[in-house]
């Protein structure tokens, strides 16, 4: 066994994603188990690109009804009115409320769409074997991983608005069908981030180093 490159995989070693231990699989095996923490090990996350694409496409599909269908329906003596996420942002916009309106705009509309685009960019560059901008790409992955959860903020806004405004027959607020799709976008993109293996970004570098000596 002679070392062929700088990565653990090139040395034939599994790096455990749970406990960090390096270990060597049985000869000829791709899979193994971590002797320290019992995690199932492979060199890279199994079917990472396919799984990430699957979650990402599902999220992109849900993104449309999430923005078109109403998330809240307000019923007053004057009748019922339904609001989508974007209408909620507009309603919140006022001389005093604009910072919060901005938070919802960023968390609910900009982050989910930016996240879908960023993951698609990472997947496509990895599939094309790109060796450029690796540091920026792994940083982009970390940013997506860090801020993705914050999109959930709108789900909580709508949950507590609806739970609290129950003053029939004066005024009541009920959750709308868009909420389900919006929560699905957040959860599916989080699962996509978890299935993506950032080490794939660097594997093209290792491959080209081997080719060119």
């Amino acid at each position: 066994m002679s070392p062929t490159g700088p990565t653990a995989m090139q040395h034939g070693l599994h790096s455990c994603g749970v406990c960090g231990l390096l270990s060597r699989p049985a000869p000829g095996e791709n899979e193994g188990r971590c002797p320290r923490c019992d995690e199932t090990l492979e060199f890279r996350k199994p079917a990472s690109l396919q799984r990430t694409w699957a979650f990402l496409i599902a999220a992109a599909v849900c993104y449309i009804p999430a923005n078109v269908l109403p998330v809240l329906t307000t019923t007053t003596a004057a009748g019922a009115e339904s609001d989508t996420i974007l209408q909620g942002v507009v309603l919140l916009w006022s001389p005093t409320g604009w910072p919060l309106s901005l938070i919802v705009l960023v968390a609910s509309i900009m982050i989910p769409s930016a996240k879908i685009l960023a993951l698609a960019y990472l997947l496509i560059t990895v599939q094309r074997g790109s060796i450029r901008n690796n540091e920026q790409r792994v940083r982009l992955y970390r940013v997506v991983e860090f801020i993705g959860r914050w999109s959930m903020v709108d789900v909580f806004v709508d949950t507590f608005t609806a739970a609290l405004i129950q003053l029939q027959p004066l005024m009541s607020v009920e959750p709308g069908p868009g909420l389900l799709f919006f929560a699905a976008v957040v959860v599916l993109t989080m699962l996509a981030v978890e299935s993506f293996d950032p080490r794939l970004i660097w594997d093209a570098v290792s491959a080209s180093e081997v080719r060119h000596g």
């Binding site: 019992d38 090990l41 909580f156 660097w202």
Partner: protein, 228 residues
């Protein structure tokens, strides 16, 4: 399909592969509070904590107490023309459930109540188990799943959502902040502190290994049966 074959660990546990770029490298001995980063992709690989277990235990116990209080008293209330209403965190999820949004209700309940409860519970069990010099295997089993509970525990995000809801509602009615609101804000900081003071790598280095039939000492070398 789960492989039943255990890998052969490498002898030198200061060697690691970067989780974000797989670069093989040696972690230096760190002073408490210092951290090591991957030279290729800048991922933080290890941050050594001073007195990690005691700090985590104290913050975890405080978080557990606040968590129970936060979920048993009202969080938000309002009054409008002589009528009053109030809700708890769980009440918010229950309202969704009762109004045909069962799936969203489960997501809210999981991210705002169940995942934080598991996050605190796992952490306390792990830390208590880790007080022994050679922590048992079950400590590792819980420690394995603790990072997942952290990802899905979204109390800080819920609090931002509550803040927005509060401002929205203030247009129609007088909002009465409940006790749970203040307790939850404190909990956000306790949970962040609890995670930050915990040194995972140090604990994995001491834990009893999963592989049965072979006993290894902390450095991963085989030792004779029955002598550990």
């Amino acid at each position: 399909m789960r492989s039943q074959v255990y890998n052969e660990p490498i002898a030198d546990t200061s060697l690691v592969g970067c989780p974000h770029c797989d670069l093989l490298q040696r972690l230096p001995e760190l002073a408490p509070g210092a951290s090591a980063r991957c030279p290729r992709c800048d991922k933080e690989l290890w941050r050594r904590r001073e007195d990690s277990l005691n700090g985590t235990l104290a913050l975890g116990l405080a978080a557990a107490v606040l968590f129970v209080v936060a979920n048993s008293v009202p969080m938000l209330g309002l009054t409008i023309v002589g009528r009053a209403a109030s809700t708890t965190v769980i009440g918010g999820a229950k309202h969704l459930w009762d109004n045909g949004q069962q799936i969203v209700a489960v997501v809210v309940l999981f991210t705002a109540v169940i995942a934080p409860a598991l996050q605190i519970g796992f952490m306390l069990a792990v830390v208590l188990g880790a007080l022994r010099e050679r922590p048992s295997k079950w400590v590792g089993n819980l420690l394995r799943h603790q990072p997942t509970t952290r990802t899905w525990s979204m109390i800080e995000i819920m609090m931002l959502g509550v803040l927005v809801a509060l401002v929205k509602i203030a247009d129609y009615a007088t909002v009465i902040p409940g006790m749970a609101l203040f307790v939850l804000w404190a909990l956000v900081f306790l949970l962040a502190g609890m995670q930050a003071s915990f040194d995972q790598r140090e604990l994995w280095g001491r834990i009893e290994w999963a592989e049965t039939g072979v006993r290894r000492d902390a450095a991963g070398d085989r030792v004779a049966d029955g002598t550990s």
